[in-house]
């Protein structure tokens, strides 16, 4: 572990633009620093910033401070009642101890569990060493992504929370040296392409201050379903976040996002298109699942994820439209 300097930011204005890595709960960053994967020269502790509130907005939406802990957010009454998919996703992730530490802003920036990314003895990792290739291709790749991969990276985005936020069409608010801006979650995460080291739209010095969610659709039902080998404390093999509204047995509104299969939280416009206006039946759910996975590119060990993700989508849609 390299030495680093540490300072504690007193205000958001002071933090934004500071030269260094922000540290909230530290559940990803400290881990990766111990592994030598992250080697920040300066850590800026943002746990003292006043970003820990959850507020209902005048338009009926929700504003979630970047420092709101995962466990607090999951158990927040408004979240449980109106954004159930988010609460369920949070509670399916990690362990109670980790959720007590992990923050909303930090989880948006959670990094992959790819073992080759986390072990610096592998020099061929474009996420760490741009242009060096991908050690996971041809290696142990059972947990790797099947959507959005490239020759340079097949690492899975690990978060559950971000999958729910994607289905909820969240907006991420940041403050930086050039001022404030709002980024739709759809624009926030980058595909790896040839630059898997660039994971999101943040500019240097930009600090996530909060996340906003649109007003809940009163008639919608929400579901988060996570499939994995064991019952707890494991990343998803496949997960699905669904927000759906039906009337007269037909789907009038639907958002589908997938976890555990993509290089980023995976919004499936293809599945949504296959469902809109259609009867809420098993046949259409399966067709939507097929559409969502049409472009899947499995590796040597994770071909099963294609069928598993399809079944995950079908079950989530079935539950959300029941």
């Amino acid at each position: 572990m390299q030495s680093f300097s540490y300072s504690k930011a007193q205000t958001v204005d002071q933090a934004a633009g500071m030269d260094g890595r922000f540290i909230g709960g530290g559940t990803t960053l400290v881990d990766l620093m111990k592994q030598g994967v992250e080697t920040p020269k300066t850590l800026v502790d943002i746990t003292g910033l006043p970003l820990s509130s959850v507020e209902t907005l005048p338009d009926g939406g929700l504003k979630i401070g970047a420092m709101v802990r995962n466990s607090d957010l999951a158990h927040h009454e408004t979240v449980k009642a109106q954004y159930a998919v988010l609460s369920e996703a949070l509670l399916s992730g990690a362990s109670p101890q980790l959720r007590n530490m992990a923050t909303t802003g930090g989880n948006l920036l959670q990094r992959t569990r790819c073992p080759y990314f986390r072990d610096t003895s592998y020099t061929n990792c474009s996420k760490r060493n741009p242009g060096s290739g991908c050690a996971a291709i041809g290696g142990h790749n059972r947990m790797m992504a099947i959507l959005g991969t490239s020759e340079d990276c097949i690492a899975t985005h690990p978060s559950d929370m971000c999958v729910a936020l994607t289905a909820l069409e969240a907006t991420i608010h940041v403050q930086g040296p050039k001022g404030d801006r709002a980024i739709a979650i759809a624009d926030f995460y980058k595909l790896p392409g040839t630059t898997p080291n660039v994971e999101n739209a943040l500019e240097p010095g930009e600090l996530i201050t909060h996340v906003t969610l649109p007003a809940p659709r009163k008639a919608s039902k929400q579901v988060y379903l996570k499939l994995r080998d064991r019952a707890s404390y494991e990343f998803a093999l496949a997960s699905a976040a669904v927000v759906a509204e039906t009337s007269g047995g037909h789907i009038r509104f639907v958002r589908v996002a997938l976890g555990g299969v993509g290089t980023r939280p995976w919004r499936s416009h293809e599945a949504e298109a296959a469902l809109m206006g259609k009867p809420a039946t098993a046949t259409h759910f399966r067709a939507a699942a097929e559409a969502a996975l049409k472009e899947a590119k499995p590796q040597s060990e994770n071909g099963f994820k294609v069928e598993l993700a399809k079944r995950c989508i079908v079950r989530a849609l079935t539950t959300a439209t029941a």
């Binding site: 572990m1 390299q2 030598g36 569990r113 073992p115 080759y116 072990d119 003895s121 041809g138 290696g139 142990h140 947990m143 379903l225 499939l227 080998d229 064991r230 019952a231 707890s232 404390y233 494991e234 990343f235 093999l237 071909g303 099963f304 069928e307 598993l308 079944r311 995950c312 079908v314 079950r315």
Partner: protein, 747 residues
């Protein structure tokens, strides 16, 4: 020891809490890595990043110059570390090759250097700065052991198995596999080594302080009496800590070099490469039966992988020759070398992977026969050990099967695949028989009655976390009538009389006769003193007519209340204490055990819930019935069996160490990526002990329970999985990708 009040009456067989529990729940129990000695420094190994080849160059100059670094040891500058004498049962090491012996690399993660520094952080940073270059070759880490062209050796044989199999009416011929599983006790391996002149003390995480002392003396080239090993508490070992690993010698050598105490804690990731694993096995089973289900042929050909430097035989045929009655049987085995660290016994070595294969084959045979799997076992129950013609000392497998069947509700099972449902889920029910050998080895113990009113036992064995301290205390309470508050049990220190290695489920059976004998001896001396101390209340009594009850010496014809507290007897005689030593021998030398086949037995019944629509399978219920002799402490005993069942869920469904085929690295070497069962994966577990004493093994009739609980769990689950899904998984673990092969079935 801290204490818990327990009535001394009927203390043997009572479900008492462990006397060391409060020390653990309050964090005051000291494990090896908890010892902080004055002047202590830290050692961190540097690991090879190739699995086969040689070290071409090792540049330690940068590391040597870093802050706090005292020494960097490597093959070019380390003193001679001697080898252990091959096959010395009293001084065994896990890996024959001493660390840093030469520049050759046999497995990924092998230690190539050791950095010693003032702080752990400095040592860790300097270890990362050691630059090694290798001439690397492609390692052999394949998980496929066939085709195998080497030599098989016969483990057991009777009759003419191949002819009988060929002629059998119903046959199963299948190959079963179990993966590499890594021992993951929550306490990491750790060594604190401290030299004082030419003597050395180890604070160790070991399952055998005496063996550890003997092996270290041999390796370091010093007399045994110059080595002390202390293991007060162990955060378990599951076999991985039976014998010393290379880091133990490295810590000692480093301490001798820098003349300071050295602490070396193996990291969780190193646990996956450097301190053993259950080896990969591949076992072909051929089982033949008559049309009515009588076994006529049983053949097991078992391969297991081993390392390049050690021949580790898993012994997959442990249970095969005696579990069932079959006239024609052959068991053979062979080893296949791989570029992996040396394997080591893991809970139920041989029997556990062997029974996965055999009991899966039996389930397949039951399906082929259209016979109930319990009935098939009952029909082929053995009345004698047919491998050697010996009688069993105590065998109640039939009752295990019948009791388990009744408790589980087996009679309600419908045999068709996917035919049972509950709450919208498919149920699968499976079962398996289990067994494990029963052993007793030599043990010496001292028991003393003190003038301070306490009774103490001392023995150089160790409590791996399962309740041995409490077993000692129960015997002392039984013998003296004292409550636990007045009982002290001192274990885990080689300055005490030699006790057993904690392995093979033999600790309880081994220590009971010694501690009972020493207690009897000390009490006899006490009564003699009571009768012969001038002026004392009982002076002149015949010692034979005196008793020690509730801590008081009294005449047999009178009550304890009319007697004298034993400490008063000692004080009157101006004695600080009275003590006795007792040594008990091994069962192999005991005429009572001669000519008897001694084993524990069990039956495992498992229920799984299957949701085919989302390929989700969970183990929901396990009923386990254990015939392990008399159970001394049913509370600690049931705790062990439940833990073993959870471990069995992990074995069946989750655990597998994966080696990257390109460089041989165990690539999932951490507790997030190597999956073990969590609390959420734990089924409802019902444990029953039959509690038939086995007096051939010792006077208490106790056998052991450490391993039997894991035997049979994985095949019971695999059979339940087949019953639910129609998918027969013959290679563990059972994964979602296997289950996705299941056809969807209508309710």
């Amino acid at each position: 020891m801290a204490s818990t009040t327990a009535s001394p009456h009927g203390i043997i067989g009572r479900p008492v809490p462990r006397i060391d529990g409060p020390l653990k729940t309050t964090g005051t129990a000291q494990y090896a890595a908890d010892f902080h000695l004055p002047g202590m420094v830290f050692a961190v190994p540097v690991q090879a990043t190739v699995a086969k080849g040689t070290i071409r160059s090792l540049d330690v100059t940068a590391a040597q110059a870093m802050p706090g670094v005292l020494e960097v040891l490597h093959h070019g500058n380390v003193e001679r570390i001697y080898r252990a004498v091959p096959n010395d049962p009293n001084a065994t090491v896990s890996e024959t090759r001493p660390p840093l012996e030469d520049n050759r690399i046999y497995y990924w993660g092998q230690y190539v250097a050791l950095v010693v520094a003032e702080t752990l952080e400095q040592a860790t940073a300097a270890a990362a700065a050691v630059k090694a270059e290798y001439s690397a070759e492609t390692p052999q880490v394949s998980g496929e052991l066939e085709p195998f062209a080497g030599t098989w050796h016969t483990v057991s044989a009777r009759g003419k198995v191949d002819e009988a199999f060929d002629a059998a009416a119903v046959k199963v011929d299948q190959t079963y596999g179990t993966p590499v599983e890594t021992h993951n006790p929550i306490e990491l391996h750790a060594t604190v080594a401290a030299w004082a002149g030419d003597t050395v003390t180890f604070y160790e995480s070991t399952q055998g302080v005496v063996n550890h002392r003997n092996a270290m003396a041999q390796i370091l080239g010093v007399p045994r009496e110059n080595v002390t090993v202390i293991t007060k508490f162990l955060g378990s070992g599951f076999g991985g800590k039976l014998f010393p690993w290379p880091h133990c010698a490295l810590a000692a050598v480093a301490s001798r070099r820098v003349q300071r105490p050295v602490k070396l804690v193996v990291t969780r990731t190193m646990m996956f490469s450097n301190v053993g694993h259950r080896p990969l096995t591949e076992q072909r089973f051929r089982v033949g039966a008559s049309a009515d289900g009588k076994l006529v042929a049983l053949r097991q050909d078992a391969l297991n992988h081993t390392s390049m430097v050690d021949n580790f035989d898993e012994g997959c045929g442990e249970a095969t020759p005696y579990l069932y009655s079959v006239p024609n049987l052959t068991v053979t085995s062979a080893l296949v070398q791989r570029n992996v660290g040396s394997p080591m016994a893991m809970r139920g070595p041989g029997a556990v992977p062997g029974l996965f294969a055999m009991e899966s084959a039996m389930d397949e045979l039951a399906v082929a026969l259209k016979m109930d799997p319990v009935e098939l076992r009952l029909k082929n129950d053995a009345s004698i050990d047919e491998s050697n013609g010996q009688k069993f000392s105590s065998r109640h497998l039939r009752e295990c099967l019948e009791t388990g069947s009744a408790k589980f509700g087996w009679s309600k099972r419908t045999p068709a695949v996917g035919s049972m449902r509950r709450d919208g889920k498919v149920l699968g029910w499976g079962m398996a028989a289990a067994s494990w050998g029963a052993y007793r080895f030599g043990c010496s113990t001292t028991v003393e009655l003190g003038a301070d009113g306490k009774v103490r036992a001392r023995c150089a064995t160790q409590d791996v976390g399962t309740g041995l301290y409490t077993i000692f205390a129960q015997v002392l309470a039984e013998k003296t009538g004292l409550p636990f508050e007045r009982i002290e049990v001192l274990l885990g220190d080689t300055t005490m009389p030699e006790g057993p290695l904690s392995g093979g489920s033999w600790s309880t059976a081994t220590v009971l006769p010694a501690v009972a004998g020493a207690a009897d001896g000390a009490i006899a001396s006490l009564l003699q003193i009571a009768a012969s101390t001038p002026g004392a209340k009982l002076e002149g009594a015949d010692a034979k007519t005196l008793r020690l009850t509730e801590g008081r010496v009294h005449r047999a014809t009178e009550s304890a209340a009319q007697g004298v507290p034993f400490e008063t007897v000692l004080q009157a005689a101006r004695l600080n204490r009275v003590s006795a030593d007792s040594t008990s021998g091994s069962a192999f030398e005991d005429p009572k055990a001669k000519g008897l086949s001694m084993h524990s037995f069990g039956a495992q019944f498992a229920e799984v819930e299957w949701e085919p629509e989302i390929a989700r399978l969970r183990v929901s219920r396990v009923v386990t019935v254990i015939d392990a002799g008399r159970i001394i402490n049913p509370r600690a005993g049931a705790n062990q069996i439940k833990g073993a069942v959870v471990m069995g869920v992990g074995m069946a469904m989750l655990e597998e160490t994966v080696y990257d085929p390109r460089n041989g690295q165990p690539i999932n070497g951490n507790l997030a990526d190597y999956l073990m069962a969590t609390c959420a994966d734990s089924p409802e577990i019902d444990v029953t002990f039959l509690d038939y004493p086995d007096y051939a093994l010792n006077s208490y009739g106790a056998r052991g329970i450490g391993e039997i609980g894991l035997a049979g769990v994985a095949p019971a689950i695999a059979s339940a999985v087949y019953h639910a899904t129609g998918v027969r998984v013959r290679k563990l673990p059972i994964r979602i990708e296997d289950l996705l092969q299941s056809e969807m079935r209508e309710a």
